[in-house]
């Protein structure tokens, strides 16, 4: 698990061709995590400091104390993580039964899956749970590589409808039924 570049603390940037810089960035993409943590820390701190506290505070701990501590912690950990990454430390990507880490990440699938989930969330109120749920299941199965278009929609529809019946009819947890409610 040796890293190709970046083991030297200061890779001189002057002659670096674009390709090399890109590969340095790819190797150090974990710095993105540091940036996110930093941003989160700043967000938490801003939120805490802009909070107007005019209620009488008793003792050293008010509504801002914990957010300030957490925000500071985020900043510190972002810095420590950055140092660790620049020194060559790497977070180990999680393995697993269904996971093949030798291939590069398949971003298309991830985006597709997120998009389908978001789409279903938006559709749930206008078209009802059974439709949105079925689209979610079918879409997710499709994104994950199932191409049985003669079978998948039916599975999705049945699953979604059964879930609707169990929640809405049997348990009394209301789910939107769809545009045809009250028409048929």
């Amino acid at each position: 698990m040796t890293t190709r570049t970046g083991s030297s603390p200061a890779p001189d940037p002057t002659p670096a061709p674009a390709a090399e810089r890109r590969s340095w960035l790819r190797d150090h993409s974990e710095l993105g995590v540091c940036v996110l943590l930093l941003a989160l820390g700043v967000l938490v701190l801003t939120d805490a400091l802009t909070m107007d506290v005019d209620i009488t505070q008793r003792g050293p701990v008010g509504p801002r104390t914990v957010p300030i501590v957490v925000g500071m912690g985020l900043l510190v950990i972002a810095a420590l993580l950055a140092v660790d990454v620049l020194r060559g430390g790497r977070g180990e990507a999680e393995g697993g039964e269904d996971i093949d880490l030798s291939e590069p990440a398949d971003w298309r699938t991830v985006l597709l899956l997120s998009g389908i989930f978001l789409g279903a969330a938006v559709l749930i109120e206008p078209v009802g749970f059974p439709v949105a749920g079925a689209l979610l299941f079918w879409g997710a199965a499709f994104a994950l590589g199932s191409r049985r278009s003669d079978r998948d929609p039916l599975i999705a529809a049945v699953l979604s409808l059964i879930t609707y019946i169990v929640f809405d009819k049997l348990l009394g947890v209301p789910l939107p039924g769809g545009p045809l409610m009250g028409v048929l």
């Binding site: 008793r58 439709v131 079925a134 278009s149 003669d150 929609p153 039916l154 049945v158 039924g177």
Partner: protein, 328 residues
């Protein structure tokens, strides 16, 4: 073979589109008090006060044959403000009602909610309940005067425990008490507890100076002698606690009663509004509801229509004035 895909798609579409409406129970005639598809929204979690009120009312209305299948659902959040926002957004929906109470009035104000109860259609006030001022049995305070004298001396040293977040009923009651006793509400050391459980433990263990809570909640502990009632907050003594004085007769000008009621979305037609009000009037007259009132120890406080609207308005003003004094 090619044909199977469109067939599957068609089948799936029919299932998900036509399934739910076909499964729903046929349309009931909209006669008398019957409101088919009526739903009660509960703006707090299962087991909470509004939840019990709504579920009891729904069950009693069904048992009394006033209407069937009232669907009760919970939409908790921000002390009822999330439910309130949803209710207001259901403009003109005559098949929805929300159980609520003083707590929602307070939460809408303290959370600076964009919608208040003035945006809803008031239907009925159902029940009311006084608050009690209680201490543990080992507490040094034997009477309300002893307590308030000590409280006045150093408000910070006498933490007050209540079951609601700032703005809620158990918060307002001690603030009004403080005002009446000449203590600045700002110096009151109020500690909110979620639900009655932790609060009760804190009162029993004398962790807080005194506690404020609904009468019904701790009736048993009071009867068993675990808790001592120093006063009740309403205008008259409570039947179950004849020995406990009202704050007023003890010389503190406080008249505070918590209540629960029903509101509906804005923009209802006159007919829709009357229909909902009718339903609750009939419910109020039913023996089932009377029995529930008795079982739950609720006091009947039935009030409908514009009178209830005026009452809501007055309560809102009162909450605002207390909160303003606290700087919330």
């Amino acid at each position: 073979m090619r044909l199977r895909t469109p067939l599957a798609l068609l089948g799936a579409a029919v299932l998900v589109l036509a399934g739910p409406p076909l499964l729903s129970t046929g349309s009931d005639a909209e006669t008398g008090t019957q409101i088919p598809g009526l739903r009660f929204m509960v703006p707090n979690t299962p087991g909470g006060g509004y939840d019990i009120t709504a579920r009891t009312a729904a069950k009693n209305a069904e048992d009394a044959g006033l209407t069937h299948n009232i669907e009760v659902f919970n939409l908790p959040g921000a002390g009822g403000t999330v439910g309130l926002s949803r209710l207001v957004s259901e403009h003109g929906n005559g098949k929805l009602a929300m159980s609520m109470g003083l707590g929602v009035v307070g939460a809408a104000r303290s959370n600076h909610a964009p919608k208040t109860l003035a945006d809803t259609t008031p239907i009925a006030r159902l029940t009311e309940e006084q608050d009690v001022v209680v201490v543990g049995k080992d507490s040094p305070y034997k009477t309300i005067d002893e307590l308030i004298t000590a409280w006045k001396k150093d408000p910070g040293k006498i933490p007050v425990g209540g079951g609601s977040s700032p703005g809620g009923p158990d918060h307002l009651a001690p603030m009004l008490m403080a005002q009446a006793a000449g203590i600045s509400p700002k110096s009151v050391n109020y500690i909110p507890f979620d639900g009655g459980g932790e609060l009760l433990a804190s009162i029993l263990g004398n962790k807080v100076g005194f506690g404020v809570s609904g009468v019904g909640e701790y009736l048993d502990q009071i009867k068993a002698g675990e808790l001592r009632v120093l006063a009740v907050t309403g205008p008259e003594r409570v039947d179950d606690l004849k020995d406990a004085p009202t704050l007023k007769e003890s010389g503190y000008d406080v008249d505070f009663t918590n209540w629960r009621g029903i509101v509906a979305p804005p923009g209802l037609s006159e007919a829709e509004r009357n229909k909902l009000t009718r339903l609750f009037e009939e419910l109020h007259d039913s023996p089932e509801w009377k029995k529930s009132l008795d079982q739950n120890g609720w006091d009947d406080a039935f009030l409908t229509g514009d009178e209830f609207g005026a009452f809501l308005d007055a309560q809102d003003k009162r909450v605002v004035s207390v909160l303003k004094e606290l700087g919330l």
